[in-house]
């Protein structure tokens, strides 16, 4: 199998392990009724490790797995949200961000909070009005808590996804763009 093929297999394995951990351990780990969203962290880490194209693909896969294990929202809603988030993080990574140790936690915090609100907005668009039932204040609270908890998960998860995606075309592009920016500096 080629390096890219191995990368794909490793990312797939990471995704499967993540959905098992999310549905068994993290689902019960709630702060003020809110649990962290590991699949969302993986979408963000995918964008950081593989750029916009791979970020969108990994985000879509992570979202689809999430969708399979919820019932109240339609299949595809999390996939839509997470592929947009993966793409956005990947695009930012390519254009403006300078890599550093702080990058995954910060992007994890901002990206996750934004993703929760995006999920609700996308849900309302397709008629899932029950998503707004907790009220706007509680929605921002949920977004903030998910962001904070995901920021903690972001560093180790990002490292793992970077390892898994190594050897793929996207990872090569990210590395090249980092080298280019280093050369410009």
């Amino acid at each position: 199998m080629s390096a890219a093929g191995w990368a794909r297999a490793r990312v797939g394995a990471v995704l499967l392990a993540a959905i098992v951990i999310q549905t068994t351990v993290l689902a019960g780990l709630r702060v003020d009724g809110v649990s962290p969203d590991l699949m969302l962290v993986i979408a963000i880490a995918g964008g950081l490790a593989g750029g916009p194209e791979q970020g969108a693909q990994i985000g879509f896969a992570a979202g689809l797995l999430t969708d399979l294990f919820v019932q109240a929202t339609p299949l595809g809603l999390a996939a839509l949200t997470l592929c947009l988030v993966g793409y956005a993080v990947g695009a930012l990574q390519h254009t403006v961000l300078r890599a550093g140790w702080w990058l995954p936690p910060v992007v994890g915090l901002v990206g996750s909070s934004g993703a929760v609100l995006l999920f609700v907005a996308a849900g309302i668009t397709v008629g899932q009005t029950q998503l707004t039932a907790p009220g706007p204040l509680r929605l921002f609270e949920i977004a903030g808590l998910v962001g904070a908890m995901n920021a903690v998960l972001a560093a180790p998860v990002s490292r793992m996804v970077t390892w898994a995606a190594a050897g793929s075309a996207g990872a090569a592009l990210v590395r090249q763009s980092q080298q280019d920016r280093a050369a410009v500096r």
Partner: protein
């Protein structure tokens, strides 16, 4: 110096993925829980179920540890409260036995026993949902045990929710506190109203209560079981938490605490009942 060039390919990939997601959403909305997408979900649940069980037995202590750390204060307080409660309960045991005998007689007379002759399937709660926007649990029984979509789910004290998804070995139960859940209830005055969930850990809201209706905090509301209701009549839904008359409003502001402690569910019973097959309990 190599310069990174943006190409149109990532945007094309994104477009394809977004369109796929939108197609899935449309398919799922049209199938409303069943159909192809329902089958895909069921298959995924069955495939992952053994892995989840194994993970549970290995990782649950870790999860319990963290959840214990996060809720240490709560646990201590709860321990004290429970000890207090136990002492009180032991004192009341004898009285309770008599009261229970009486109430049993009353229930039998009025045919209010909320399960009655409806066949049930006992199940264990294995997982809570991983979503922050859905209040549901996974139980360890599915179509193999005769569980079907739409069946009411109860626990010892009353209504828990209803089955919204089912695979061969698992079923998803939407709890009554979920924001998309609603149930017809009968008020003590025999008027009908609707109780609806508002989210995890929050009291339910009771709608359509006339401003003139007299209600007391602590009253128990039961499912109304009116025609085409999703639940058989007489299942305790919850206890009134607050009743407020709002001047000029068309209804009272009423909240309801679920009869069952939904945050600590362990065992539930699925009632093999549907509005079509009708009240097997009567």
């Amino acid at each position: 110096m190599a310069v990174y060039r943006r190409t149109a390919r990532p945007r094309f990939v994104l477009l394809v993925l977004v369109l796929t997601a939108v197609t899935l959403i449309t398919l799922d909305a049209r199938a409303s829980g069943g159909g192809i997408t329902g089958n895909i979900r069921a298959r995924a649940h069955d495939i992952l179920a053994p892995v989840q069980d194994a993970t549970h037995s290995v990782l649950q202590p870790v999860g319990d540890f963290f959840s214990g750390v996060l809720h240490y204060g709560d646990l201590k307080k709860e321990n004290a409260r429970l000890r207090d409660q136990l002492a009180q309960t032991q004192g009341r045991d004898l009285q309770a036995a008599e009261a229970q005998r009486e109430s049993q007689l009353l229930l039998e007379q009025q045919h209010l026993d909320f399960v009655g002759a409806i066949p049930t399937v006992a199940a264990r709660v294995v997982d809570a949902t991983a979503s922050n926007f859905e209040v549901s649990v996974q139980i360890d029984r599915g179509t193999d045990a005769g569980v079907g979509v739409g069946m009411p789910v109860v626990a010892g004290q009353g209504l828990v929710g209803r089955v919204v998804g089912v695979s061969a070995s698992r079923a998803t139960v939407l709890l009554e506190t979920d924001a998309s859940f609603s149930v017809g209830v009968r008020l003590p005055t025999a008027d009908a109203a609707v109780a609806a969930g508002t989210g995890r850990g929050h009291p339910m809201r009771v709608d359509l209560v006339d401003p003139g209706t007299k209600l007391n905090v602590g009253d128990v509301l039961f499912t109304s079981g009116l025609q085409l209701e999703r639940f058989p009549p007489g299942i305790p839904v919850g206890r009134l938490r607050a009743v407020r008359q709002v001047p000029g409003a068309l209804q009272q502001d009423v909240t309801l605490d679920p009869a069952v402690d939904l945050l600590r569910l362990e065992f539930v019973k699925v009632l093999q009942w549907s509005p079509q097959t009708g009240g097997g309990g009567r």
